[in-house]
Amino acid sequence: MAAAARAAESGLQVGIVDDNTTLGGQIWRRSGGAPEPQSSAWAERLRSAKTMVLCGRVFHQPEPGILLAENDGGPYGLEYEKLVLATGARERFLPFPGWTLPNVMGAGGLQAMVKCGLSVNGKRVVVAGSGPLLLAVAAYLRKHGARIPIVCEQASWGSIARFSLALLRQPDKIAQALLVKRDLLSVPFSANSWPVAASGKVAVESVTISRNGRIENIPCDYLACGFHLVPNIDLPLLLGCQIRDGCVQVDDFQRTTVAQTFCVGEPTGIGGVELALVEGQIAGLTAAGQASEGRHLFRQRERLRRFARSLDRTFRLRSKLRSLPSPETIICRCEDIRYVRLRRYASWRSAKLQTRCGMGPCQGRVCGPATEFLLKWDPQSVRPPIYPVRVESLAFSASQAEPRHYA
């Protein structure tokens, strides 16, 4: 949104394609209810600058300068001169016995469901996994009436203590942290803790956790469990952008290695919304020929990137989590492939060919990060369509339709 607003305000003709029904990605997601003030401010700037907003999923690039997207109305083509990729991140899910039970969801996943009408009033929700998202989610759920027996963070107490000190160097984060703390005063938080198993018949009924070395069983209605975030790099990969350590490589002006193509936010490195907004502005300004304006934001970006690096260090996954799945635990949820079958393969590719792991609808978006951690596979390969699309979209050719033109 920030990139589009800045580019449009500088005179370019700009379009945004978003997979959701409203703008703002996951961080500002809502359906009904008051929008966050920051989100409204940017949305207003987009409106004033007459940015065109489209709904859809980009699934293919038949040639440079053209993208194909699909929404409920069918496929369409987009012709562009410059492209800013802001594809965000998704939660990392790690398998453990019972993780496929209904009502076991991601931490952000459960929050998204509550934003979209799920009531957790009076429900018991165990929050587990890793990352600052856990506390934000716990605070949010609590505000909506959930009872939270515990928040389990797999990082060590020492890592959390050092991270809290790093927060002191980020004034805006302190305010956020204090708000979260107020909402969570009576909720037990335990570092050095992780889920061991979820149990239940048709849905989760209890969670067994390792709490600072001791095993505990906690009855619950939901388990909100996610292990930090993974950049969404499938579209950048498809376009040929250079990737390193799972992140899109960009220069000081957020340019990727592909001509006329920028990348901002989480795909360049998990760093949160403030960093994404700054990177977005730098890209938008540069795309509009105002790179020198963008330079003014470099210092702010560097400060926020230091915070991002401390996020990385603090919430690194401990190797103990590799022993969570049992041989019978399903790893690929789309094809129901159990750990015992996958363990014998040395690579993502051979496992895929022999078992269909990664070939289901999620195309490895869930099992990819899991197997990368569990088995050290490298799941990076992408082929169009990068999203399941209808046959009519596959048959669609950009030259037949009337592409819409954007800068």
Partner: protein, 81 residues
């Protein structure tokens, strides 16, 4: 209340407030969204449209990610059989 609407989940009427996704409505109907290849009940996992565990048929169109679709009056939803 004027901001309630009704969707039909596997032939049963479910009343939901405006702004509710189909995934939530399916949960309110007491159903899992789908049954996995080996027969496990499954519901939404990621809540953001990437895992496809929440997929259902909406108004006859299959494989819709119900966590990404807002309920509309009279929508017909079928979960996996």
């Amino acid at each position: 209340m004027s901001d309630q609407l009704t969707v039909i989940v596997n032939d049963a009427a479910v009343a939901v407030p405006l702004g509710t996704t189909v995934a939530v409505a399916v949960g309110l109907a007491g159903q899992p969204c789908r049954t996995s290849v080996s027969g496990e009940p499954r519901g939404p996992l990621c809540g953001m449209g990437i895992c496809f565990e929440c997929r259902v048929a909406i108004n006859g169109r299959p494989h819709c990610r119900s966590c990404q679709v807002l309920c509309e009056q009279g929508m017909e939803v079928r979960t996996d059989d």
